[in-house]
Amino acid sequence: MRLPSRLVLPLLALAAPILAATSWSFEDATLTIQGKGSGVGGGAKEKLSSSTLTSQPFALNGAESLKIVLTTTEGKSGKRPHQAFLTLHEQATGLEESFAFSVKDNGKAKLDLSQKDLPHQFLTSSQPIKASIVLASFGSSTPLNHHTFDLTIGSDSATPPSIPSPPERYTSKPEIHHIFRADPRSPPKVLSLFFTLAVLAALPVLLGAWLYLGGNIDHVGKAFGANPLAHGLFFGSILAMEGVFFLYYTTWNLFQTLPVAAVVGTVAFVSGSRALTEVQERRLAGER
């Protein structure tokens, strides 16, 4: 339907008051503070108004629970707003906490609060806490933010307020002074000396035992007589090999050692085969 442009503005002017008239509000609001275990309807009921502030603050102590029942209205009819909160605002620190009403479609809403629902900062505040009822929704109705009453939180004398531990903040921690384990130390020199001498003393004992058993020293002359070069080189090369190992331990590194060891090893192998062949001849001849 095409409205003539001349008529649109007057029509809107007529409609505006109707549209701007509705606002969210609440009615039949009662606040009850119930002590623990007192049952339904035990506490004192107080009426809350959507336009004025109650004269005295209410007290919520210890294990008491606070119950608010109201009916949210848009204009004149009870309706369910998109948001219905009781906002508690602490004036000293500016901390606010909101608690949502559970609202039915016809606008009836209720809320239960107790001290354990509140942030711990509320429990230790010195001033009364402002409680506001906040109603808002989609559409063009004016929302409501009405400071309805004040609340003082009293501490229960039996249970002291427990302040939770401060949250973990990631900053630099104090410096750690680590005490390192002491380096391992050698045993006392006397002990080492004693054992070294004991080991060295075992050597003459061994040689003595060999001699006692008749260590075939007399074969040396015959062996050298038959093939002196082979036996000499063989024995000498074994001693030279041990010498190479000693030099490797003291001064040389591996790359200096290996060529020398290879040379000495070859000498030992060749001369050894000759020498041992000679020994074998003597053994087979029954002289050993």
């Binding site: 002990l191 054992f195 080991v199 035992a209 000693f246 050894g272 041992l276 020994v279």
Partner: protein
């Protein structure tokens, strides 16, 4: 007591002289090994690799001597027909040199 005596007498009489030479060498190695171990227990095992290389030198030498003894023992001639005594001795020397090299390296 008597059994020990008999065994010892049997050993002294019956074993060939060269085998006894090897046996004394093995006893010497055992003594040195025990001394090293006792020293390690008393004095602590710092530096540990020194103890390991010394101890393993005695143990390795003992093993090589045992194999030489096995191969040159006349009683075992049937088992080691292809290996002459000289060959066994050459293997013994070769093995000992390699053992010494590794122990010197590790110490």
């Amino acid at each position: 007591q008597d059994i020990v005596e008999t065994i010892w007498q049997n050993y002294v009489d019956k074993t060939p002289q060269r085998v006894k030479l090897l046996d004394t060498f093995m006893a010497f190695l055992i003594v040195v090994g025990v001394l090293q171990f006792v020293y390690c227990v008393i004095g602590g095992n710092f530096p540990f690799n020194a103890f390991l290389s010394g101890f393993s030198a005695t143990v390795g030498q003992f093993v090589l001597t045992a194999s030489l003894r096995m191969q040159t023992n006349p009683e075992n001639k049937a088992d080691f027909r292809s290996i002459s005594h000289e060959r066994a001795f050459a293997d013994f020397v070769f093995g000992s040199l390699i053992l010494h090299f590794f122990c010197v390296n590790f110490i």
